[in-house]
Symmetry: C2
Subunit: 179 residues, 2 copies
C-alpha cells in the first residue's frame, strides 16, 4: 500500500564535540546516536528514503573557557576567537558528512551558536523534520538539578517526534561526565 | 557500506482503546503513533527491514469501571468479566494486525494486564527491541501531577530508544482528555 509519501523522511541530528578529547572528535553520545540512526532507522539498503540534517550548536561560554590563555587586545582578537571556534566546529561536522557521503546518504550540516536547548528547538520549528535524534550522557546530581540534559529538554519541547539514544554502559568512560 | 545488520529493526508499539468510543476502536494517539511509524520509519518500500510488536496493556481497574452494570454472583462471573475484556482487547489488536497484513509487514500482537508503565518497560526488558513507539495525549493539570503520562514514564525508564508521537492539534477532540 502506498503511504502517500512525497519526499524522504527528514531526520535532524544534534551533534557535539567530545568533552574529553575536544574538537574535532565527536562526543561518545553523538557518535552513538549517529551510528544508531544509520543502523536501525536508515539501514544499509534504503539511503534514498532519508535525508540527514546535522546540527552542531556551539555554546559561547564554553568557547571562552577553552581559550583562557588567549590575550585580547582589540576587537579583532575576539573575532579571531570566534572564527577559530567555528573552524573547529566545521572539522567536527566534516566527520559526520564524510560518513554520510561514504554510504550515499543525502545530508546537510551546519553550525549555530547559542543555548543548545533553544537553538535545537528553534531549528526544529524552522525545518519541520520528521524526527529529531539526540544522544544522551549521564549527568551528576548537581547537573541534573541545575542544568538537565539537552535530550530531556528537547523531548519535552521540540515540535517533532524525538528519539533519545542513551549511551551504552560499555561506552561510559571512567568519569561518567566525560563524553 | 554494510552496517552488520542481521535481522530486521524490531519496533514495539504500545496501543490502547479509545477513551471516547471504547473497544474495539483504537485511541487517537495510538492510531497516530502506528500510522506515523508506518509512514515515516518503515515507509512503503521497506517492510522486509522491520518487524512490529504490538502490545496492548489492559488496566484491571478500568475494566471494573466499564462494567458497573454487571452482576456478580459467583467466582465464574469474574472470570467471564476478564474473558469479555480480553476478547475486546483482541478486537483492538485485530485492527492493527490487519493493517500490517495488508501492507505485508511482519508483526506479533499480544495483551498483558497490569500497570501500563510497568508492563511496557518489562516487555521491553524481555524483548530487547530497537525502538519503542508510544502515542501521547494531552493531560489536564491534575492528571499531570498525579498520573503523568505513560509516554513520559517510558521515555525515562524503558531500556531502549523511545519515540513519543504527540497528538496533532487537529486531532484533539473538544475535550482534550478524550482519546
Amino acid at each position: 500500500m502506498e503511504q502517500g509519501q512525497v519526499g524522504p523522511t527528514r531526520i535532524v541530528i544534534a551533534v557535539n564535540q567530545s568533552s574529553l578529547k575536544g574538537y574535532p572528535h565527536p562526543s561518545i553520545s553523538s557518535s552513538n546516536a549517529f551510528e544508531w540512526a544509520l543502523k536501525k532507522l536508515i539501514r544499509s539498503t534504503r539511503h534514498k528514503d532519508f535525508k540527514l540534517y546535522i546540527l552542531h550548536v556551539q555554546v559561547p561560554d564554553e568557547d571562552a573557557f577553552n581559550d583562557v590563555d588567549s590575550i585580547f587586545a582589540c576587537p579583532d582578537d575576539f573575532k579571531d576567537l570566534k572564527n577559530r571556534e567555528k573552524i573547529k566546529g566545521i572539522h567536527l561536522l566534516e566527520y559526520f558528512v564524510k560518513r554520510c557521503n561514504e554510504i550515499g546518504l543525502a545530508c546537510e550540516a551546519w553550525i549555530k551558536r547559542g543555548n543548545p536547548n533553544e537553538v535545537i528547538c528553534n531549528e526544529v520549528k524552522r525545518l519541520h523534520p520528521d524526527i529529531l535524534v539526540v544522544g544522551s550522557r549521564v549527568l551528576n546530581q548537581l547537573e541534573k538539578v541545575f542544568v538537565g540534559t539537552v535530550s530531556e529538554f528537547c523531548s519535552k519541547h521540540a515540535d517533532c517526534p524525538v528519539i533519545v539514544i542513551k549511551r551504552k554502559p560499555e561506552d561510559t568512560p571512567q568519569n561518567p561526565i566525560d563524553d
